[in-house]
């Protein structure tokens, strides 16, 4: 009976540590590494590149971040749910291509073209998810396949339909003005032009954070990515959650695709390659684990902000833009190491 009486000491130390200090709780958040990174990179370019200090530069940086950040929020949700999506980069372009070509070449109506593009994007997401749960292959392989297929289809179909590698200009079509106002307009704050994409990005990040932390589906996403078998054992529809997450990525690709379409009027069919890795990198820098079950949607926004600052910072510092990718890589490495260290500290018993 010794064993039993001995363990009573766990009872003695009752509830004194109920309230963990705020700073400690903040340190345990997954996005804290990215927050540190944001400060570091901001200070770095603030010092190195004088033009970076202007308000208009901040607006440009945020715009760059939002283009990455909108898909990255969805990719972060997917990664917390334990899966990858390598097809997201070209899927953005697929969506704008589809909208543009359905509108100009097939239906003659811009809105129907956008709607069909939405159906296509959600369909690509659903297909990714379905293939994943059906074949039980790793999502890396499944989405690598769709990535390569889409990359080929984007160029092949565009050439087939338009006889060119880019789509026709849509700016003359009915409804273009309204579409542009919705997806690609800008407004003025303190005399600086601010893109509406930034607003959407922040809204999406906020909604995703709320869903993750405060809704049942958010709880399920963490569980499905953390330990799928345990999730299934308590009755969570694991397959439906995964397919749903891929469709959310599909939606984010469509949304970004529409922004690109209305911002540039035409679409280059070969674009978008490589962006999928930036989305994943943003999510990882923002605290998502490659293995799933842990991460943050707000963190992915911070990650995208870091990459936005890096892209523009390199230009403002008047360096060769080729350095951008080097910085992305270095940032990713640093952030991952730092996040890993933090997570180990968070998971160790707080004494």
């Amino acid at each position: 009976m010794n064993a039993i009486t001995e363990s009573v000491e766990t009872r003695v130390a009752r509830r004194q540590v109920q309230q963990t200090p705020l700073w400690k709780r903040i340190l345990k958040r997954p996005e804290v590494g990215a927050l540190g990174g944001v400060i570091l990179v901001f200070v770095f370019f603030y010092v190195m590149a004088p033009p970076f200090r202007q308000l208009s530069a901040l607006s440009t940086v945020l715009y760059q971040a939002s283009i990455l950040g909108i898909p990255a929020v969805a990719v972060a949700l997917l990664m917390i749910g334990g899966e990858f999506d390598l097809s997201a980069g070209v899927a953005v372009v697929s969506s704008s291509l589809a909208a543009s070509m359905f509108a100009t070449e097939v239906t003659g109506n811009l809105w129907i073209g956008m709607l069909l593009a939405l159906v296509l994007s959600l369909g690509i997401g659903a297909l990714n998810g379905y293939l994943l749960v059906r074949t039980k292959l790793h999502s890396f392989l499944v989405t690598l396949s769709t990535f390569l297929m889409l990359q080929g289809l984007n160029i092949a179909i565009t050439k087939l339909v338009t006889g060119n590698v880019a789509t026709a200009d849509i700016s003359g079509m009915d409804g273009f003005d309204l579409g542009q106002r919705i997806f690609a307009s800008s407004f003025h704050v303190f005399g600086t032009s601010v893109s509406i994409a930034i607003v959407y990005w922040l809204i999406f990040a906020a909604i995703a954070t709320w869903v993750l932390l405060r809704t049942r589906i958010g709880n399920w996403i963490f569980a499905v990515g953390g330990q799928g078998d345990s999730a299934r054992a308590v009755g969570i529809p694991v397959k439906r959650v995964k397919i749903g997450l891929f469709m959310v990525v599909g939606f984010s690709c469509w949304f970004t695709g529409m922004h690109m379409l209305f911002a540039y009027d035409t679409v280059q069919s070969g674009a978008g390659i490589g962006n999928e890795l930036l989305y994943i990198a943003s999510a990882v820098v923002g605290g998502c684990l490659l293995t799933g079950g842990y991460g943050s949607a707000a963190g992915s926004a911070l990650g995208a902000f870091i990459f936005g600052m890096t892209t523009e910072g390199v230009i403002y510092a008047d360096w060769d833009p080729d350095w951008f990718m080097f910085f992305v890589g270095a940032m990713l490495l640093l952030a991952t190491v730092f996040n890993g260290w933090l997570r180990i500290r968070a998971l160790s018993r707080s004494k």
Partner: protein
Amino acid sequence: MTSSNTPIIQLTNVGKSYGNISALRDVSLTVRQGEVTCILGDNGAGKSTLISIIAGLIGHDQGTYAVDGKPEHFTSPRQALDLGISAVYQTLALVPLLSVWRNFYLGSEIRKGSGLFKRLDVKTMQQTAEREVERMGINIPDLEQPVGTLSGGQRQVVAIARAVHFGARVLILDEPTAALGVTQSGLVLRYIATAAREHGIGVIFITHNPHHAYMVGDHFMVLARGEVELDTPRADLSLEDLMFHMAGGAGLNALQHELHRGEPTTAGQAA
């Protein structure tokens, strides 16, 4: 809520064969409210087959399995769960990176609000989980901490507390102390006793360890090669007897004799 003698589960001559290999033969077992039934046995003795039948993972093909006096033939664990028969397996249905209270309510989340704004009732869930976990006598300073940071024993207790909270009348515990140290085992054993005596739950405790079994058990069953080797209430059994049966009974004497060749032996201590 003390131990009354209402049988919840009654197995009569239950058996299970795979082809012409019989995994289990003629097992009769009664689980009563508030009673801890210990099932012991070597690897391959039929313990897992037996608990799989009780938990509804596999169907039996001989004898009868009655719940509340009504014969049942389960085809899925869900049916057993709906009758309040809940199994906590070694691999536990907990998600390590998820916080304690989120794990506690995983799959049965409480929500408030409506429509698009339907959201988790975090406060209620945290408070209930805290109360339930505290009632089991373990102290978890911060329910926000991931389950992975808890000790093995605490994790078992959280899993058990969850089963109890969501209406288990019969708890099947599959080797809950197997991977635990002495202190941690004590924690789990204390909770097994609490669950039975204070909550009136019928517990089926599967273990390798006769010491652990004897501390909490009211009734003991030793299985060997798919058959019942020993089936006695606590009153008719000493720890030494239990250890002797557990260690292999008469077979062990022979083995010891063979190994020591004439050296003085003390059967029963070998366990």
